[in-house]
Amino acid sequence: MTGDGVLAQALRYLNDPLSWTAPGGILDLTGQHLVMSVLAALLAAAVALPLGAWLGHAGRGAAVVVALSNTSRALPTLAVILLLATAGLFGDTATVLAAALFAVPVLLVGAYEGVRGADPAARDAARGLGMPGGRVLWQVELPLAVPLLAAGVRTAVVQVVATVPLAALAGGGGLGHVIAFGMGTQRYGQVLAGGLLVAALCLVVDGLLALAQRFAVPRPLRARAAATAAR
């Protein structure tokens, strides 16, 4: 198992059109990977964004948000996937749920911090104009929260795309399958190729989201967002 031999194997695998187009090949697996990622991200967003925005608006629940995000750092993702799998869910379902679970704290923090951090002067002005709470949240706090919200969404989505490969360890699909299959059959060139594919996918998604983040942030807030990102 010499290094250059493995590299050559990896290149041969990646160069073979059949490894891409065959049923269950790289293209299929990438498709599965993206579908699972989108589902997990939507699921997490549906729960975390409204909750985070509301908690931020009400100024409550900070301790819970902190505790949640700290615990989620210590909890191994693999454990959650395997436990969900043993509870009778298949590899893919378990992974989508687990990935969503770990994305929730990230989105929650983004929404909470964003809304909470809205300029108090703007909030006071809106109240002074007689806006009810709902409109203050919708028309003042949320637009001001966009930089942190967008950053949270980007981090969460990239994290989801990075978590989905673990599905392969619980018998699911996605690009992690290339790695797990390579390990199982001792084709280490394929393991290397799988690692490179997963890494590339994450970097591409992160790059695209960085662009989207730039366009999502209203122009007057961009300077501040850049300052936040640079820290």
Binding site: R73, A74, P76, L83, V106, Y112, T155, V191, G195, L203
Partner: protein
């Protein structure tokens, strides 16, 4: 199927030796990774901290590397370094290094410029300014970086399963393949959480002991607990410096 409980004290008792071996592996791997990472990251941060452009380049490279998932990194390293402990250790060092580096740089940037001026005015040379002003001022940030790195490393070790060296993750995976044996997975998970909690508490206590001057401040200890000490101080008082990111990149 009868008897697939979520937790079983009998199983723990019967498998105490395996549990101990795996936990010990897990612990050693974590400590070794964080120690190596700290030994590299802190001097590197001190070196680039004063050069704005160099710091930007280092942080940029770090966040690109951090975007690569652990599974992919282990998978890339394993065929090159050999299956087993080495690729996992190298991968863990990389991630821990990025976390500590980022926190330390943030801490260094938050040092009061007036304190630096005062030190220079007193005739301190660059080395003295670094050792006697910057480093102590950045110490809470370094500690918070160490804590974050340790906790995430404990969780990340389990992914090492993919290349055959995952400490407690090995138990989880065995339990999964062994007819979905739940008790085995749950026990390993609890052991992981416990290890993270204990290490985190120890580091917190060590950090507190090392920074006696912060103890009088109401939020000194709490501030060190999360992501961004540099910002936290600005927002202190609310008690909710949430950092903006779970994984550390972007924000």
């Amino acid at each position: 199927m009868p008897g697939n409980p979520w937790f079983s004290l009998e199983w723990v008792r019967a498998n105490a030796d395996v549990l101990a071996t795996r936990s010990w592996q897990h612990l050693l791997l974590t400590l070794e990774a964080v120690a190596i990472a700290a030994a590299v990251a802190v001097p590197l941060a001190l070196l680039v901290g004063r050069r704005r452009r160099a710091a930007g380049a280092v942080v940029g490279t770090a966040s690109v590397l951090y975007t690569v998932p652990s599974l992919a990194l282990f998978a890339v390293l394993a065929p090159l370094l050999g299956i087993g402990r080495t690729p996992v250790l190298v991968g863990l060092v990389v991630y821990a290094l990025l976390v500590i580096l980022r926190q330390t740089l943030a801490g260094l940037q938050s040092v009061d410029p007036a304190a630096l001026d005062a030190a220079r005015g007193l005739g301190y040379g660059p080395a003295q300014v670094t050792l006697r002003v910057q480093l102590p001022a950045a110490l809470p940030a370094v500690v918070s970086g160490l804590r974050l790195a340790t906790v995430t490393t404990v969780a990340l070790v389990t992914v090492g399963v993919v290349v055959g060296y995952g400490g407690l993750g090995q138990l989880m995976f065995e339990g999964f393949r062994n007819n979905f044996h739940r008790a085995e997975i749950t026990t390993a998970t609890l052991a992981c959480l416990l290890m993270a909690l204990v290490l985190d508490t120890l580091l917190w206590a060590a950090g507190r002991a090392a920074t006696p001057w912060l103890r009088g401040r109401a939020d000194g200890g709490r501030r060190a607990g999360h992501g961004q000490p540099a910002r936290a101080s600005v927002r202190a008082g609310t008690g909710t410096d949430l950092g903006a990111d779970g994984r550390g990149e972007a924000a």
